[in-house]
Amino acid sequence: MTRAVIEAKHVTKRFGGLMAVDNVDLVVPEHTISSIIGPNGAGKTTLFNCVSGFYVPEEGEILFLGEPINSLPTHKICQRGISRTYQNIRLFGEMTAVENILVGEHTRLKTNWFEAIVHNPRYRTEEQESVERAFELLDYVGLCGLENTPARNLPYGAQRRLEIARALASQPALLLLDEPTAGMNPQETDEMVAFIRDLRDTRKITILLIEHDMRVVMDISDQITVLDYGLKIAEGRPAEIQSNQRVIEAYLGPGAAALSEKFKKKKAHYA
C-alpha cells in the first residue's frame, strides 16, 4: 500500500446555511491520478480551495504527507509542496512567460532583497540557475520560442500550459488541476491527457484533478471521487463509478439508473 499524499477527514465547509462541502473523506495515494467529479455546484472547487489553503474548513482535518495543513496560510502550503491551477486561467498577465515561471520558483529561491542590491555570488548563481530551470520547464511544456511573450498575449492553449508550468516550478509533490482540458478541442485534450500521464510517470508527481469531460476522467484516473451537493456519493475505480447507480442519478436525475438498466437489457436482448 502506497502512502497517502492527501488524507482529508470529515472536511466540512459552510457558506452561511449552504453546506458546500459536507463531511467529506478523501484519500489520494502517492503517484496516482485522482479525479473529483460531480454536477455543477457539487463542491468540487470548494474542496480544492480547502486543500490549497484558500478556505479554512470549519470541521475536519486535512493531512499532507501525514502532517496537518488546514490551519496553515496559503503560501506555507505551497512551500510544503502543493501547487495548483485555476478553472479560469489566472496568470500574471503583464509578466512574460519566463517571469511567470520565475515567480513560480519563488519558494525554491533563497536570496533576499539586500543580496539582490549587492549582487553577491550566491544571488548571481541562484538567478542564473533559476532562469535555466525556467527555460527547461517552458521547453518541457512546449512553449519554446514564446519565453519573452507577455502571458496575456499568449494563445489559450499556451496559457493553460504556462499555468501548469508555473505550478510545476515550485517542484510540488501534489498538483491540483482545476479543469485542465476546459475549452480544448479533442486533439488538444488528447495531448493534455498524455501530458498529465507523463507528469505522473516521469516526474513522479501525484495529481488531483477536477474535470467535466468524462472521456478524459475515465481514461486517465486511477481513482474517482464523486461529489453531489457537498456530499461524497461514490468513490472507486472508473469502471465502478460508471456503473454506480447513485452517480448516474446525480447526473441524469432520479429514475435514470433504472432506465439505464432497462436500456442495457434491451440492448442485450437485440444482440
Binding site: 503560501h75 489566472r90 515567480v103 533576499n112 532583497w113 544571488y123 548571481r124 519565453e147 519573452n148
Partner: protein
C-alpha cells in the same frame, strides 16, 4: 470631395474656437510677446505687429496640418481643398471675433468689466492699430493663406516621403558601419556605452557649474522628486498598493534630519551623515508602523486610510501637543548643512550630491526590480490571491515594499530639509503626495526612466512655463490631459525585461537585458 469639406470644416471650427478662447483669456498677446522674445524681436512702447502676424501664421499652419491629417491618404487637390475650407471657417470665426471686439471697444463699451483680459490697449494691438474691418480682413487672409500652406506642406512631406527616406538612409549608414544589424545594436557595444556613460558623467558634472543658482534650485527640486517618485514607484508601481499619504514619510525624514541637526529646539547637533541615516531609518520604521495595521486593505480603502495617515502626520507636527518636540507651526530653522573640506555646501555641491544620490537610488530600484523580490511585488500587483498560492508571503512582501519606499522618502526628506535649511509642516501638504503620485502615473507605472521624465515634466516644466505666468497652470493642465489621451500608459512605459536563452555551456553574464 465630401470628406475634404467635412474634415476641413471640423478642423476649421476647432481652431476657430481655440482662437476665440485664446483671445478671450488674453493669451494671444502673451503668445505674440513670447514669439518676439524667441526671435529677438522686442521693442519698448508699441508692440511690434510682426510678432502677432507670426503667431497667426503658426495657428494657421496648424489648422491646415490638422485638416490634411484628418484626411489620411489623399490627392493634392483634396489636401488643398481641406486646408482651404479649414482656413475659411477658422478665418471667418476669427474675423467675427476681431471685428466684434474691435468695434465694441472703439464704441467705448466697457468689455473689460466682464472679460478682465480685454484691455483696450491690448485690443488696439490686436487690431494692428487700425480699423476693426481692415484688421479682421487681415486675420481672415492669414488663416486662409497659412492653412492652405500648412496642408500643402504636410502633403508634400507625405507624398515625396523624403523625410522617411532620409531617416532610413541614416539608419542604413549606421548599420553598415561595423556591420551591425540594427540601430539598437550599436547601443549594445560596450565601448559605445562607455563613451555615452563618460559623456553623461562629464555633462552631469559641468551642468550645475554652468546654469547658475536659480536652475540649480529648480533641478535640485526635480532631483528630490525623482527620489520620492522612485520610492513611491516601489509601493504603487511594483507592489500595486495605492498609497496616498506618501508625503508623511517625506515629512518624517525631513523632520528627523532637522531635529537631529538644528540648534533649536533640541540642539543635538548630530553628525550630518549620521543624521541622514537616522532619517532613512525613522522613515522606514514609519513605513513598518503604517504597514502593520493596513495591509489587509486593498484598493480604495487603502488609498483613503493612507490619505488620512498623511494628514495626521502633518497635523501632529503642527499640533500644540508636540510643539515642544517639533517646534509646531513655526517649523525648524537653521537645519544642518553638509561641509566639504571645511566649507559649507553651495548650490553646485548640493546639485552634485543630489545627482549622485539619484543615480544610487536608480541603481537600487533597478536591482530590486529585476530580483526575486521585485518579481514577487509585480506578481502581487497582478493577482494577489494567486501570488499567495504561488508561495509568496504577500504580507511580508507588501510591508517590505512600504518600508523600502519609505526609506527613499526619508532620504529625500533629509536632503530637502538640509538644502532649504528649513522645514515646516506646510512643506508636506497633501499636494506633495499627489504630485509624487502624478509623477509615477504620468511617467509610467513601474518604469524607472518614466519616473525621471515624469519628475522633469511635473516639477521642471512648470518652471520653464513661468514665462506664461497666469496661464502656466492652464497650459500645464492641458498638457496633462493631452498626455493621458495620447499616452495612457505614461510618457515612458516600463520596458519589458527580456531573458536570453541560456546557452548549453555555462554563461558568464546572465543579467537580464532591458529591451524596449
Amino acid at each position: 470631395m465630401k470628406t475634404s469639406l467635412k474634415k476641413g470644416l471640423s478642423s476649421g471650427v476647432i481652431f476657430g474656437i481655440v482662437f476665440i478662447f485664446l483671445l478671450l483669456i488674453g493669451f494671444i498677446n502673451v503668445g505674440s510677446t513670447m514669439i518676439g522674445d524667441l526671435l529677438g524681436n522686442t521693442a519698448s512702447g508699441r508692440l511690434p505687429v510682426n510678432n502677432l502676424l507670426t503667431f497667426l501664421a503658426v495657428l494657421g499652419v496648424l489648422t491646415g496640418i490638422t485638416a490634411r491629417n484628418g484626411l489620411g491618404e489623399s490627392q493634392w487637390w483634396q489636401a488643398l481643398l481641406g486646408g482651404l475650407v479649414a482656413g475659411l471657417v477658422s478665418g471667418v470665426l476669427a474675423w467675427l471675433a476681431i471685428w466684434l471686439t474691435g468695434t465694441l471697444s472703439l464704441q467705448g463699451s466697457e468689455i473689460q468689466t466682464y472679460l478682465p483680459n480685454m484691455d483696450p490697449a491690448d485690443l488696439n494691438y490686436l487690431r494692428f492699430y487700425s480699423t476693426p474691418l481692415a484688421a479682421a480682413n487681415t486675420y481672415l487672409l492669414y488663416f486662409v493663406g497659412f492653412s492652405v500652406a500648412g496642408a500643402a506642406l504636410v502633403w508634400l512631406l507625405s507624398i515625396k516621403g523624403w523625410f522617411v527616406k532620409c531617416w532610413q538612409a541614416c539608419r542604413n549608414g549606421v548599420s553598415n558601419w561595423k556591420g551591425t544589424k540594427d540601430l539598437s545594436d550599436v547601443f549594445k557595444n560596450r565601448w559605445v556605452m562607455l563613451v555615452i556613460f563618460l559623456a553623461v558623467a562629464v555633462a552631469l558634472y559641468f551642468l550645475p557649474l554652468a546654469w547658475g543658482s536659480y536652475w540649480n534650485y529648480i533641478m535640485g527640486t526635480v532631483a528630490i522628486y525623482v527620489i520620492l517618485g522612485l520610492g513611491l514607484n516601489i509601493i504603487v508601481g511594483y507592489s500595486g498598493q495605492l498609497v496616498l499619504g506618501f508625503g508623511a514619510f517625506f515629512a518624517t525624514g525631513a523632520y528627523t534630519f532637522a531635529l537631529l541637526t538644528a540648534p533649536t529646539p533640541h540642539g543635538i547637533g548630530l553628525n550630518l551623515w549620521l543624521a541622514v541615516g537616522g532619517s532613512v531609518l525613522v522613515s522606514t520604521l514609519t513605513g513598518l508602523l503604517l504597514g502593520l495595521p493596513i495591509l489587509n486593505l486593498r484598493g480604495d480603502y487603502l488609498a483613503i486610510v493612507t490619505l488620512g495617515f498623511g494628514e495626521i502626520i502633518r497635523i501632529l507636527i503642527k499640533s500644540d501637543l508636540l510643539t515642544a518636540v517639533t517646534n509646531g507651526p513655526k517649523g525648524v530653522t537653521n537645519v544642518g548643512q553638509p561641509t566639504w573640506f571645511g566649507e559649507t555646501f553651495n548650490d553646485v555641491n548640493y546639485m552634485h550630491l543630489l545627482m549622485l544620490l539619484v543615480l544610487v537610488a536608480l541603481f537600487i530600484a533597478k536591482r530590486l526590480k529585476d530580483s526575486r523580490t521585485g518579481r514577487a511585488w509585480v506578481a502581487i500587483r497582478e493577482d494577489q490571491t494567486v501570488a499567495q498560492a504561488t508561495g509568496i508571503n504577500t504580507y511580508r512582501s507588501k510591508i517590505l515594499a512600504l518600508m523600502l519606499g519609505a526609506a527613499f522618502a526619508g532620504l529625500a526628506g533629509a536632503l530637502f530639509a538640509s538644502r532649504n535649511q528649513f522645514t515646516g509642516p506646510e512643506d508636506f501638504t497633501l499636494m506633495v503626495s499627489i504630485n509624487v503620485l502624478c509623477i509615477v502615473i504620468v511617467g509610467g507605472m513601474g518604469s524607472l526612466p518614466g519616473i525621471v521624465l515624469g519628475a522633469f515634466v511635473l516639477k521642471g516644466l512648470p518652471e520653464l512655463l513661468r514665462e506664461l505666468e497666469d496661464y502656466r497652470l492652464l497650459v500645464f493642465g492641458a498638457l496633462l490631459v493631452v498626455m493621458m489621451i495620447v499616452r495612457p500608459e505614461g510618457l515612458w512605459p516600463a520596458p519589458r525585461v527580456k531573458f536570453d536563452k541560456p546557452a548549453e555551456e555555462p554563461m558568464q553574464d546572465l543579467a537580464p537585458e532591458v529591451k524596449q
